[in-house]
């Protein structure tokens, strides 16, 4: 129950932050990516503002094994650069540019984004489900140690 309550709070704070920063406005995201247009640097300030409290949080997390509600702290894990990460990010970047929406803002703007926003979210969900068999193949290959391009901890 406490976990769900804090999850609502985190989700709400995330959504308010996306809205206040202007990231639910597709013109701001596309303005950041369009370096040959009227370039908009806002996204860099959003990233910078978000990374400050996050970096502090990771320093605190590094000294603990258990979170406040008793779950195990998320580990960094093995740092593999594999084809899934690379091609997935290429595709994501392309779609991000075309619509000016990524998953967080797509969800945060669902309540005021009209039909277009809902269609985007449904297409995104379909894309996620279509990725399932590829994810399975990738994790099988990773388990066998294949197709790892760079590996570090």
């Amino acid at each position: 129950m406490a976990r769900a309550l804090f999850a609502v709070l985190a989700g709400g704070l995330f959504g308010i932050g996306l809205m206040v920063s202007g990231m639910t406005d597709t013109t701001k995201v596309q303005g950041w990516l369009d370096i040959f247009g009227d370039w908009d640097p806002t996204l860099a300030f959003v990233m910078g503002g978000a990374i400050i409290p996050m970096a502090v949080a990771w320093r605190i997390a590094a000294r603990r094994r258990i979170s406040a509600l008793g779950t195990i702290m998320p580990e960094l894990g093995e740092q593999r650069l594999d084809p899934g990460l690379i091609w997935g990010s290429v595709l994501f970047g392309a779609g991000w540019a075309l619509a000016g929406l990524c998953p967080g803002p797509a969800l945060a703007s669902l309540g005021f984004g009209g039909t277009g926003g809902l269609v985007f979210l449904l297409a995104m969900a379909a894309g996620m489900l279509a990725a399932t068999p590829f994810r399975r193949t990738l994790s099988r290959r990773a388990a066998r140690g294949e197709e790892t391009w760079i590996s570090a901890r």
């Binding site: 704070l13 206040v20 596309q30 979170s67 290429v90 991000w96 075309l98 619509a99 277009g116 379909a126």
Partner: protein, 141 residues
């Protein structure tokens, strides 16, 4: 860009960072939008579905309360094929890469994760290329 936009960006970014800081410290989880949503719909996150659903409920519903104050506009294109193609690519790509702007970008960069840094560099580069091509050469958006 309006002159005060960077300030709103910085402040809003700080709120995003507070949410992203709270999630691992309190719930013990990384705050990545594509992972939380994707794991809920494809069933891989069924053990933590209440927490995922609660997070998404907060993310979708709470901003609606601020609509009268901020009167946000999304300016999303009305070109349906572009919306569909973009949505499919964002969904497929973020699941294949295991993260998006929040998980790889905000949460990954802040802990100097190699995967987060690499993914962010790649999606910004690919996004920039597609943006410039689609707008200035193909006249698509």
């Amino acid at each position: 860009m309006i002159e005060t936009d960077w300030l709103w960006g910085l402040g809003g970014g700080f709120l995003i960072g507070l949410a992203g800081a709270m999630f691992p410290l309190v719930n013990g989880r990384v705050m990545g939008a594509s992972g939380i949503f994707g794991g809920l719909i494809d069933g891989t996150g069924r053990d933590t579905w209440t927490e995922r659903l609660a997070f998404l409920a907060g993310l979708v519903v709470i901003p609606v309360g601020l609509v009268p104050v901020l009167s946000p506009e999304t300016h999303l294109t009305e070109n349906l094929p572009v919306i569909l193609a973009a949505g499919l690519m964002v969904g497929f790509g973020t699941r294949l890469a295991n993260g998006c702007t929040s998980g790889h970008g905000v949460c990954g960069i802040s802990r100097l994760s190699l995967r987060g840094l690499a993914a962010t560099a790649i999606y910004i580069l690919a996004g920039g290329l597609v943006m410039v091509s689609a707008r200035h050469f193909w006249g698509l958006i």
